[in-house]
């Protein structure tokens, strides 16, 4: 078995280690993506309601 493949088996604990990291990435990443999307949406909604000020002529 190549060294890379041996690494991925995590000494037999692969079924626990990788799902642990995957769940962490999913939960924290999901929260981040959701928060970011909601933030962008709020910025756009605000920009639509408040057209950019033009300097007085």
């Amino acid at each position: 078995m190549s060294a890379v493949a041996a690494y991925f088996t995590m000494g037999g604990y692969a079924g626990f280690v990788w799902p642990a990291y995957a769940i962490t990435a999913a939960v924290l990443g999901g929260l981040s993506v959701h928060s970011w999307r909601r933030y962008r949406a709020s910025c756009e909604a605000l920009a639509r309601l408040q057209p950019p000020d033009r300097a007085p002529r």
Partner: protein, 258 residues
């Protein structure tokens, strides 16, 4: 410092600059932490490679508790000093804390399975984090349970204070309960002591989680302030934007000059 951030407009300016810095820093530190956790740290002689789960589990537990303390402090500031952004900070932080709690519980379960043979272990830390999870859920549920959002915010602040006062009592009773029902062997996820070579990835991940919290907090607070301002604009028109900001918008001033 708190009073300089009380003005929403100034907060938006400062947090906008801090946001990208925090985002970049958390990505960098988390990446470094992952490299250390997954590649550089040696396997434990007792737990083997499964010790790598600890590099997520323990920092997540620290974050779960710290964020709850943050929510409580922000709630106290909201109730006692009526700092305008304190409630927003508390409500923005709670879901982040709940997420870390969830991560801690899930990784704790996955870590405990190969060690103790079951998918759930009632050890002191996991049990305390489980209780913390329900404290978070209660807070989030209470804040969202009222049609009047300001009532929900104030009730949530009070609940957070009640929770933080009870937290040491609950922790004490859970620890007591744990020692009462434990067999002689030390059931403590993580073993008796942590070696130095394992401490570094732990701390790096903890720092990364902390920076991630900071980024998410500012992000969610800015979102809340944007949404609040948009709501005011929709309801009351241009003048409301001045009130929400603490400064006069150019449009209202121009209208007054005509």
């Amino acid at each position: 410092m708190l009073s300089t951030l009380a003005n929403p407009a100034r907060f938006m300016r400062i947090s906008g600059a801090a946001l990208s810095w925090l985002g970049g820093a958390s990505l960098f530190v988390l990446a470094a932490g992952l490299v250390w956790s997954l590649l550089l740290a040696p396997p434990d002689y007792q737990q083997g490679e499964s010790v790598r789960i600890m590099f997520i589990h323990v920092p997540a537990a620290w974050m779960a508790l710290s964020v709850y303390l943050f929510v409580s402090v922000a709630s106290a500031v909201a109730l006692v000093w009526r700092h305008p952004l304190a409630e927003i900070a508390a409500q923005a932080a709670a879901p982040i804390g709940a997420a870390f709690t969830l991560v801690c519980l899930a990784t704790g379960s996955l870590w405990g399975r190969p060690m103790w043979g079951t998918w759930w272990v009632w050890d002191a830390r996991l049990t305390s984090v489980l209780v913390l999870f329900f404290l978070y859920l209660g807070y989030i549920a209470l804040v969202n349970a009222f049609d009047d959002t300001s009532r929900g915010a104030r009730a949530g602040s009070l609940l957070a204070l009640v929770g933080v006062v009870n937290l040491p009592i609950i922790k004490f009773s859970v620890d007591w309960w744990n020692t009462l029902h434990q067999p002689a062997s030390v059931v403590r996820l993580g073993g008796p002591a942590i070696d130095v070579s394992l401490l570094i990835p732990l701390l790096v991940m903890a720092l990364g989680f902390g920076l991630l919290f900071g980024w998410l907090l500012l992000l969610r607070m800015r979102t809340a302030l944007n949404e609040r301002k948009a709501r005011a604009l929709r309801l009351y028109g241009g003048a409301a934007a001045g009130d929400a900001d603490g400064q006069q918008p150019v449009t209202a001033a121009r209208a007054a000059q005509r």
